[in-house]
Symmetry: C2
Subunit: 162 residues, 2 copies
């Protein structure tokens, strides 16, 4: 199992948007340029974020994407689920009901213990991701980004936005 690569891109892009003034939009092309990513493919993932209501989009010159909500109201889980879907990773196919020892479906009152175990683990995973907001990610970044990169980033923003 491998997590969708676009998840990394989406979280990074959202954290950039969170650092910008709220009324500034950044196009998919600019975001791709900032991270040196294939712009068309990144656009596909940004569309998912837009459909999930995490970012709002505007067309035409000066348009692009901006956060639809304050950064502290968007969790990492929101972004992950927007890109990767909300389906459970483990899917129980009820093989206990099959084969020579299976009995009628109504006899099974609960999901089987194996599925419950897997789902409990997924729940813990989601809880960890839900506990971290974009604002938290931004704060981490402010504390740890090399000063040189911060300067280059600010310079890049100014050259692009004007």
């Amino acid at each position: 199992m491998k997590l969708n690569e676009g998840i990394e891109w989406a979280i990074h892009c959202c954290s950039i948007l969170a650092a910008l003034p709220p009324d500034i939009a950044l196009s998919a092309k600019r975001l791709a340029e900032f991270f040196d990513l294939p712009s068309h493919y990144l656009a596909k993932h940004l569309q998912s974020l837009s459909q999930a209501g995490l970012v709002s989009s505007s067309k035409g010159p000066g348009g692009g994407y901006s956060l639809a909500k304050p950064a502290d109201q968007i969790s990492v889980l929101n972004i992950v689920q927007a890109i990767d879907g909300r389906a459970a990773h483990f899917q129980c196919t009820e093989i206990r009901q099959r084969g020579p020892s299976g009995v009628e479906p109504p006899c099974y009152k609960n999901p089987c213990g194996i599925a419950r175990t897997m789902w409990r683990a997924e729940k813990a995973w989601r809880a960890e991701l839900a506990a971290v907001s974009l604002a938290d990610i931004g704060q981490l970044g402010l504390n740890e980004i090399p000063q040189t990169q911060m300067d280059k980033s600010l310079h890049w923003f100014e050259s692009v936005i004007k």
Copy 2:
């Protein structure tokens, strides 16, 4: 992202092996028959369990698979990792280092906050799975399996093992 379907099969098969007397081996064919699964494909996953040292295999007539360790020393995480590999689900490609604002790799002392967040969530996921052993799964089963199924299963075992 979807978890390998074989994980469900492998855990069910291991829980069956855990319920058997330790000196009894069950072949891939029999296990597939019990759950009505494609035997050849199930065999592939059982090989993974064997390579991981969770089950021991014996060839020839009367051979098959049996648990290599006591059921309380095999966690669900062991099985999941045997089938799905031990690689992290989230792979950080360090896109923060790329693009016009990137600086030299030595400037980045820690993994980026996004990767740390994702990995912390995976750690919580693994911890939940590591906390459940095959013995626990078996206990859950004993408490919840319909009596009719238990009878049919015992009957099937007797007809197969003799």
